[in-house]
């Protein structure tokens, strides 16, 4: 038969209060196996308290070639940042 196991992306929450973070990927036949393998591959030293597994094909990624139109418009919008606004030096708590 010789079918390849699909690729899964692994996200781990290192401790409560923190977000799940991408840890890496691995191959597994199904979600349950991906979960078991993720535990063995990415949390052998208590690196996590929660794991998400997502089959890689379900992730839609932005294309770096479009980075210009996607991200550059933010660069000239300094008014979104607090330092854009002029205030007297002696004002406090703001």
């Amino acid at each position: 038969m010789n079918k390849n196991w699909p690729l899964w992306e692994i996200f781990v929450r290192s401790k409560n209060g923190l977000e799940h973070r991408h840890f890496g990927s691995l191959r597994a036949a199904d979600a349950e196996m991906a979960m078991n393998n993720a535990r063995d591959v990415y949390t052998r030293r208590s690196e996590g308290v929660s794991i998400w597994v997502v089959e890689s094909k379900n992730i839609t990624a932005s294309n770096p070639e479009h980075n210009g139109e996607l991200f550059e418009p933010a660069a000239d919008k300094a008014y979104r940042h607090p330092t854009f606004y002029d205030l007297p030096d002696d004002i406090e708590h703001m």
């Binding site: 196991w5 199904d30 294309n63 770096p64």
Partner: protein, 327 residues
């Protein structure tokens, strides 16, 4: 005429992209899988990362040889954990390599067919328990020296995998040194066993850091891409300088009559490395090359029905879910 103009336009564009790429690396920015990269960068990385992954996987075999015969439960759990780490490191590296557009299956094929290399040190046999000590101390020691600079390499997925590998690897060397220490504090026979292991693993460990700089064909380009931060000879010197005092503490003798501290340079001078032996082993004529690859191939081939069964089971579960939904 029109065609020629297009060609020039394309070439110009590629050249432009290459300049942007080189500048990015010079600024210490990372390259991520979907970013544009020169074909040579991609190929070199596939070669090096896969070679690294294969070394982790094949590297399990010489140590696997001693798991069932470890002298105590303490040693056994440590060795098991070390070998399991190596499997994990192989997996991190295979998936980093796959981001470059090569499939896992192709990678395995290259290993099994001999097209891809792995670290030649794993083609030496592990004859006694002391070899577990010497491997942890020397082979992992040399590997750490090789790997630490790679945590800063330019290709993001490789660098991230290496950070994790290096973090985990530090116990490997310590457990090896502890084994050597225990043997050296033991009976005369045990100490001789430790000395014998050092005698056999010393030179291959020096070779492990790669051919000398003037023989190394990839060094220059790899330095430019920050795939290498130090040359092979620099790494080798660093390894020798830090290992000799460790051997002294064990009371063992490094098997090199020319080894001598050089007051002028502040480094150890050392004897000539037998590069013929190195190339023989690389070319497949080492003591265990055939055994290693056949063990690997057998594991893969004999596991095929298990992999297939897992896929069949997964497909069946999906079908069942669909039937449930339909009802």
């Amino acid at each position: 005429m029109k065609n020629k103009e297009n060609m020039n336009e394309n070439e110009k564009q590629t050249k432009n992209l290459e300049e942007i790429f080189e500048a990015k690396i010079a600024r210490d920015e990372k390259i991520e899988p979907k970013d544009w990269m020169p074909e040579k960068y991609r190929k070199t990385h596939i070669r090096q990362i896969s070679q690294h992954a294969h070394s982790e996987i094949v590297g399990m075999l010489p140590e696997g040889n001693w798991i069932t015969r470890a002298p105590s439960l303490r040693r056994k759990v440590a060795l098991l954990a070390k070998v399991q780490d190596e499997a994990g490191h192989g997996l991190y590296l295979y998936s980093a390599c796959e981001t470059l557009g090569i499939s896992r299956e192709e990678l395995y094929d290259q290993l099994h067919s001999g097209k891809a290399k792995y670290s030649s040190i794993f083609n030496y046999p592990t004859l006694t328990w002391a070899d577990m000590g010497a491997i942890g101390w020397l082979v992992d020691g040399a590997a750490i020296i090789n790997q630490v600079p790679l945590c800063n390499t330019s290709f993001g997925p490789y660098a991230r995998a290496m950070v994790r590998v290096c973090k985990e690897e530090s116990f490997h060397q310590r457990q090896g040194y502890e084994i050597m220490m225990t043997l050296c504090n033991g009976t005369q026979e045990q100490k001789e066993m430790a000395q014998d292991a050092l005698n056999r693993w010393w030179w291959p460990s020096l070779m492990m850091l790669g051919p000398t700089d003037d023989e190394s064909i990839h060094t220059e380009q790899s330095m430019k891409w920050k795939l290498k931060r130090k040359t092979n000879d620099e790494l080798r010197q660093q390894f020798i300088d830090q290992t000799v005092p460790q051997a002294d503490i064990l009371g063992l003798t490094i098997p090199d009559p020319d080894l001598k501290y050089n007051n002028d340079t502040g480094h150890y001078d050392f004897g000539k490395i037998d590069w013929d032996e190195f190339w023989q082993v690389v070319k497949g004529h080492g003591m265990c090359n055939k055994e290693r690859i056949s063990a690997r191939k057998n594991a893969w081939d004999n596991g095929e029905w298990v992999r297939d069964a897992a896929v069949a089971y997964a497909e069946k579960q999906v079908e069942k879910d669909e039937v449930k939904k339909a009802v």
